[in-house]
């Protein structure tokens, strides 16, 4: 009972069974703890325990990949919150947007962050790609990860494009009309595309019809784009992000490795 003073409380907590069952190592800044901080954490262990000073500089990697991934996290978070307030039906969609603007607490900033974050993510993916090109990071052994990166670029476009329709305002449906009109010119499977007449493609059975769920952008399109935007594309994107990160980890950062002969 003698050591029951306030001074000993922190130590008592840190040495308790509960604390130790959660945190496996101390926080004292020594080399061992710093290594364990990475390897013992499920979220951090995708990172190497040490990293080259050359490759870690901002002016080398521009933080483009980090920012892109963080924007994806923000978009997931704000997107889930937006799903609470938004119903993807023609009578409600637009008025839910108005509610977000004027009624829902912080609804406006929620929506703005989601929209601007999406634009920023598309841009940052391109920046990340340029950086990767200029540092030759796509060269062996990282060829396949570059391919995965291009797939991620593609799905970032698709995610952003499918989200573009959801506000259901004039900007949304006409931008999506312009975008999906291109699909009707797809060779073979679009009814205005080359060779399409040879296999009997019409306005109501081609690729654009499948995409829109009709011959024009309508309620079926809204539902399709919503489901793809909230479930389909994010799952596919997440899978490829996992592969992307895994390959970076396996092959190492290009800034780590000396130039190969």
């Amino acid at each position: 009972m003698a050591n029951l003073s306030l001074k000993n409380v922190p130590q008592a907590i840190v040495e308790s069974q509960i604390w130790k069952s959660i945190f496996r190592h101390g926080y004292t800044m020594n080399r061992r703890n710093r290594l364990l901080a990475i390897t013992n954490n499920v979220f951090y262990h995708i990172l190497p325990t040490k990293i080259s000073k050359y490759g870690v500089r901002m002016r080398f990697h521009w933080g483009a990949g980090i920012i892109t991934f963080y924007l994806f996290l923000i978009l997931t978070f704000t997107g889930v919150l937006l799903m609470f307030y938004y119903v993807p039906t023609v009578p409600r969609a637009y008025y839910d947007m108005k509610d977000l603007q004027h009624v829902v607490p912080f609804g406006n900033i929620l929506r703005n962050m989601h929209r601007y974050g999406a634009h920023a993510m598309v841009f940052m993916v391109m920046v990340h790609m340029a950086r990767t090109f200029y540092t030759s990071s796509y060269k062996p052994p990282r060829e396949f990860n570059w391919v995965v990166g291009v797939i991620l670029l593609n799905f970032t476009f698709l995610l952003s494009f499918s989200g573009y329709l959801l506000p259901w305002d004039q900007l949304a449906i006409w931008a999506v009309t312009v975008g999906t009109n291109m699909a009707r010119a797809t060779p073979l499977i679009g009814h205005e595309g080359p060779f399409a007449n040879l296999i009997g493609m019409k306005v109501n059975n081609d690729i654009r019809f499948a995409l829109l769920g009709g011959t024009t952008v309508g309620s079926a399109t809204l539902l399709r784009f919503y489901v793809l935007h909230c479930i389909g594309f994010p799952i596919i994107l997440t899978i490829f992000i996992v592969v992307h990160f895994w390959r970076v980890r396996r092959d190492g950062f290009s800034g780590d490795v000396p130039v190969r002969e």
Binding site: K98, N112, S137, K139, W146, V150, F161, I173, N197, V217
Partner: protein, 274 residues
């Protein structure tokens, strides 16, 4: 050529020595925790701040409710597709909206398998990979140029409007365009591809032996020959076809703008217009 190559090699070796093979205990490394974490957290924080402030000061656009009966003029795609939309002026939708995007994505994916140059991994190296850097940069600049034109300089009916011009004043295109004949168009396309593919291979053989060894023409010939020999027939052909497609876009734009050519090749029976 020989001297520059040698000094280039020395410089490369010096660069490599400056970042010699890292070992576990090397001073070239630092611990991820906390040093790389600082970078990550700072990137996260700055992104949050920028995005938050941006969202606070600029309300996202929300136009009147969707009305299928009222088409806005112009209807613009999202900014990242506006470049492709701008290409609709020069190409049919199956090229601008399907074939070219497909080729862009496919071509991007093919880059690591086409580019056999092993120089420059993990460094900003222009010297040893001038061609690759030029092609990629030109493509990127062209992509964003089209986006800027489409986004800022196109008004009603997709006519050219300077930012200070009033969209109320209606402009019309009075250009009468024409298409080339089937024969002429086919010959042009075959000729363009063949010339682009064969000439760079032929020049070193036809001109190379006839010029002085030290002249710049000779150097140019040697560079072309090296370009081909490094790649081999298959990769050379794929790479040149992709490059010719990319360069073909401004070629068609020039034909359309200055020679009023609508289609180079027109086969209405199967909707194939180029």
């Amino acid at each position: 050529m020989a001297t520059t190559e040698k000094s280039g090699k020395t410089e490369q070796a010096a660069r490599r020595a400056a970042r010699s093979v890292p070992t576990a205990s090397s001073e070239r490394f630092e611990l991820t925790w906390p040093y790389f974490m600082y970078t990550i957290v700072i990137c996260f924080l700055l992104t949050t701040i920028v995005l938050w402030v941006w969202s606070m000061v600029a309300p996202a656009p929300l136009e009147p409710i969707a009305d299928p009966n009222r088409t806005p003029n112009p209807s613009k795609a999202p900014w990242y597709f506006v470049g492709l939309q701008e290409l609709l002026v020069y190409f049919d939708p199956w090229i601008a909206g399907v074939a070219l995007p497909g080729l862009i994505l496919g071509g991007l994916m093919a880059i690591p398998y086409i580019d056999k140059n092993t120089h420059g991994i993990g460094e900003y190296n222009y010297k040893d990979r001038k061609f690759a850097v030029w092609v990629f940069s030109l493509g990127t600049v062209f992509w964003f140029l089209l986006i800027i034109i489409g986004y800022f300089f196109r008004g009603p009916s997709w006519q050219w409007y300077w930012p200070w011009e009033n969209w109320e004043i209606h402009k019309e295109s009075h250009v009468v365009t024409h298409s080339w004949s089937l024969l002429g168009g086919s010959l042009f396309l075959i000729g363009y591809t063949a010339v682009g593919l064969i000439i760079p291979v032929l020049i070193p053989y036809l001109i190379g032996p006839r010029v002085k060894p030290a002249s710049w023409i000779k150097k140019f010939c040697d560079a072309l020959q090296e370009f081909y020999e490094k790649r081999g027939a298959t990769i050379y052909t794929i790479e040149m076809l992709l490059l010719l497609t990319m360069l073909g876009i401004p070629v068609k734009m020039i034909l359309r703008l200055y020679f009023n050519v609508k289609y180079i090749l027109e086969i209405p029976a199967i909707n194939l217009n180029i």
